[in-house]
C-alpha cells in the first residue's frame, strides 16, 4: 500500500513534470521566449494549419500558457471590464474544459486598446496563478478548483493604473511574485502559493510600470528583478530581502530577461549586464543606444540578440558587444514580443500578421500569415504547435498531418 501511495501521485503529476514543452508563463517557462520545437508550421491562414480556434468570452492581451494537455488563458468582459475570466481548453480539440469567473475588486480603467487582462498567467505545473490589471490575483489548480483569491488593490486601495497594467507574475519555489507599480501604492510582493498570504512586500517607486519581473542570472538562491523607469531592484525571491539596486533610466514596458549569464534591460537602447563579482549591483557589459525595443521584450539566440520596435524594425545584434548585424523592416506595428522556435522567429503585429523570419538567413522573411483580429499577445509554443491569441480568440496553429 505504501508503494502504491508513492506511485499514484507520481503517475498523476507525471504529465506536468515530464513534459518538457510546457509554456508556463509570459515568454515561456524559462522566460527566454524560446522553444526547441523545429516542427512549427511556417505558413497558415484561417483555413490552413489551424488545428482549432476558440472564441473567448471577453477581451485581453494576455498570452496563453500551456501545461500538459491543456492551454489556459484569461480575459475580461462587462461594461467596465469588471468581469474576470480564466479558461482552460484541451490542447487536442480546443474544447473548453472549464471556465471560472470573478468580479474585479480593483480599478478596471484602461486605454481602449487594452482590457483588464493583459498579464499572462503563470504555472508551476500544478497550479495556475492569474493576475489582472485590477490587481486581482487568483490561484487555481489545473482542474479549476480555487486555491485562493486576493484583491491586492482591495488591500492597498491606491494601487491602480487607469491606463491599464500588464505585469505578468512569476512563480519561484512556491511563491507567486507580482509587480504592482503605478502612481499610487506600488510594491513588489511574494505571495505564498499554498495559502495566498503575503510572504513579503517591498516598496517600489510610485511611477507607472508595465514590466514583468524576472530572475537574475548567476545567483545561488533565486533573485527577482523589478524594472522601473528608475532602474532595477533585486530581491531574494523567498524573503524579499534587497540584494542590490541598479540606477538607470529604464523603459517602463519592456521586461528584463536573462540569457547566457547576462541580464538584458531596455535602458538607453539595450544594455547587457553581468553579475557583480561581489555582492553589489551588476556591471555593464555593453550598451547599444541604437537598439530600441519599443514595447516588445527581445529574444536571444546563442550569440545574437533580436529586437523589434513598435514600428516593426527588426534588428539583429551581437550579444558580445551589441553591434548591429542586420536590420529588417516588417509590416505593421508591434506590441507582442517575438518568440523563437528552431531557426525561425515568430513576430505577430497588431493587425494579426505573423512574420516568420529565418534567423540563419539574415532575416529572410519566410512568410507573412494573416489571421483576423487585433493581436497584442505574445505567442506560446508547445508540442510543435503555436498558440496565437487575438483580442477575442485563441488559435492553435499546427501542421496538418
Amino acid at each position: 500500500m505504501i508503494s502504491l501511495l508513492r506511485v499514484v501521485p507520481l503517475v498523476v503529476i507525471m504529465p506536468s513534470i515530464c513534459c518538457g514543452t510546457d509554456w508556463l508563463r509570459f515568454r515561456g517557462s524559462e522566460n527566454d521566449a524560446r522553444s526547441s520545437s523545429s516542427s512549427l508550421p511556417t505558413h497558415w491562414d484561417a483555413e490552413t494549419n489551424v488545428a482549432w480556434k476558440a472564441e473567448l468570452p471577453g477581451r485581453g492581451p494576455s498570452s496563453p500558457i500551456v501545461v500538459g494537455d491543456h492551454v489556459y488563458v484569461t480575459c475580461s468582459s462587462g461594461a467596465s471590464d469588471e468581469r474576470l475570466h480564466v479558461l482552460c481548453f484541451a490542447v487536442d480539440t480546443g474544447e473548453e474544459v472549464w471556465h471560472r469567473q470573478f468580479w474585479a475588486t480593483g480599478r478596471t480603467f484602461g486605454h481602449p486598446t487594452t482590457a483588464n487582462a493583459p498579464p499572462t498567467p503563470a504555472s508551476d505545473g500544478e497550479r495556475i496563478v492569474a493576475f489582472f490589471s485590477s490587481n486581482d490575483l487568483v490561484c487555481l489548480d489545473l482542474q479549476g478548483n480555487l486555491g485562493w483569491y486576493r484583491g491586492l488593490a482591495h488591500d492597498w486601495p491606491k494601487a491602480g493604473n487607469d491606463v491599464g497594467m500588464s505585469s505578468s507574475p512569476i512563480i519561484v519555489d512556491n511563491v507567486a511574485i507580482v509587480q504592482v507599480q503605478n502612481q499610487g501604492d506600488s510594491f513588489g510582493a511574494g505571495i505564498d502559493l499554498q495559502d495566498g498570504t503575503t510572504r513579503w512586500r517591498v516598496p517600489l517607486a510610485r511611477t507607472a510600470s508595465w514590466s514583468s519581473p524576472t530572475l537574475a542570472p548567476g545567483e545561488v538562491r533565486p533573485v527577482v528583478i523589478f524594472q522601473s523607469v528608475e532602474g532595477l531592484l533585486a530581491c531574494n525571491a523567498a524573503t524579499g530581502a534587497e540584494r542590490w539596486r541598479y540606477e538607470a533610466s529604464c523603459e517602463s514596458i519592456t521586461s528584463p530577461f536573462s540569457s547566457g549569464g547576462r541580464l538584458y534591460i531596455a535602458s538607453d537602447g539595450m544594455t547587457a549586464l553581468t553579475p557583480s563579482q561581489g555582492n553589489g549591483s551588476p556591471d555593464v557589459a555593453w550598451g547599444a543606444n541604437q537598439l530600441n525595443p519599443g514595447a516588445a521584450t527581445p529574444v536571444v539566440a546563442d550569440d545574437r540578440l533580436f529586437v523589434v520596435n513598435r514600428a516593426g524594425v527588426l534588428t539583429c545584434a551581437s550579444t558580445a558587444e551589441g553591434k548591429i548585424l542586420w536590420r529588417k523592416r516588417l509590416s505593421g506595428s508591434f506590441w507582442a514580443s517575438p518568440v523563437l522556435a528552431g531557426q525561425h522567429l515568430f513576430l505577430v503585429n497588431d493587425s494579426g500578421t505573423t512574420h516568420v523570419v529565418d534567423i540563419t538567413a539574415e532575416g529572410t522573411v519566410v512568410s507573412e500569415n494573416q489571421l483576423d483580429g487585433r493581436f497584442q499577445a505574445t505567442p506560446a509554443v508547445a508540442d510543435d504547435a503555436l498558440y496565437l491569441r487575438s483580442e477575442h480568440a485563441l488559435w492553435k496553429i499546427a501542421s496538418q498531418r
Binding site: R100, W103, D136, V138, V163, Q183, D195, T197, A208
Partner: protein, 383 residues
Amino acid sequence: MFRPFICWFQIAWACVVLGLLTQPCCADNVSSLVDQLRSVDVNGGGHTQAISAWQTLAQSDADQLGDILPGLDGAGPLAANWIRAAMDTIAEREWKRSGTLPLVTLEAHIEDRSRDPRGRRWAYEWLVRLQPDAADRWLPNLLDDPSLELRRDAVARVLVTARELEGEGKKAGAISAFNRAFRAARDLDQVQLIVDELKALDVEVDLPKHFGFLVDWYLIGPFDSTGGVGFDATYPPEESVELGAKLPGKSDDVSWSAHVTDDSFGAIDLNTKLGKHKGSVAYAYTEFIASEPRDVQLRLGCINANKVWLNGELLTANDVYHAGMELDQYRAKAQLRAGSNAILVKVCQNEQTESWAQRWSFQLRVCDAQGTAVLPVTAPGGN
C-alpha cells in the same frame, strides 16, 4: 495473493468515506462553510479556514446552490469571489453531468430584488445558458433592475426593438423605444450609442441631467504647485470659500469667476477657463441644493491629481497625473444635508512636457449607488 485486493479495497473504501465526510450534508453545514468564506479579509486573513471550507463547499450538490447563493448578500468583494468560485464549480460539474441545474431555484433568486445583484446575475446567466429563451421572459421586467448587469441586457433588448421599428419606418415608435432605453441606461457605452441613434432621429437629449453632472462652477487659480508641492499645500479656498475674495496666486492675485460648461459630459477645461499653467493648482466650487438629507456618491473624472470636499469634509484625494480621464474614475460615498451643500474640487497640474500631459480638466456628478443622477432642487426634476 489476496493482499493486493485488500489494498485496493481499503483505498476505495477510504475514498468513499472521505467523500462522504467532505460533502456538506445540510443547509446548516453549507451556511457554516459559506460563513467561513465570508470571513476572508485583507492580506490573506482567514485563508487557512477558507481554503478548507471551499474544498468542502465545492463538493456540494447542485440542489444546495439555493443555500449558497444567499451567501453573496452583503458579502465583501473578496468573499464574493470565493463563494462564486464554489458556485461555478458546482454548477459546471452538474451541467456537464446532467445538462441542467435547479431552474426553479435560479428563477426564484432572480425574482427577489432584495438579493445581492451579483448573485441574481449569476443565477440569470446560468438560467439563460440552459434556457436561452428565458431572456425573452425576464428582460422586459429588468429595465429598472438594481443589478446594472441585468439592466444592461434589458436595455440592449429594447435597442433591438427600437432599431427594428426604425427599420420598419415607424419613427415615433422607434423614438419612444430609444427614449425608454435611454432612461434606463447607466453604462456610458450604451448611453452614447442611444444618443447617436436619437440624434439621427432629430431628438436631442440632456446628457448632463441624465448623468447628474454639475455644470455651474466658480473657479480660481493658479496657485503654486512647482515640483508637485501644491497637492499637499493648503491654500485659502481649503480653509473657507469667499467668492468675492482676492487671493495671492502663483504669480499674481487671483479671484473667483463663474463658469458654465456646455460640455455634454460636464467637463471643465481649466486650460481654457484659467489659461495654461504648468505646476499649478486650481479650485472649483459649487453649491448643491438638496431638499432632504440623503446618501449619494460624488463621482469625479479627472486627468490630474485631485481632492474633493463636501461641506468641508475631504472625500477623496488622488495624487495621480495623466493616467487617463474616465467617467466615474474616483467614487466617494457622501451624505447630502438638506439645503445648501458646498462642493470644492482641487485640481493639480504637474510640469510634464509631453504632448499627452497637457490636459487640466475634471468632471463631477452626483448620483446614487446605481449611477442614477441625483439632481439639485434648482434643476428641473431635481429632488
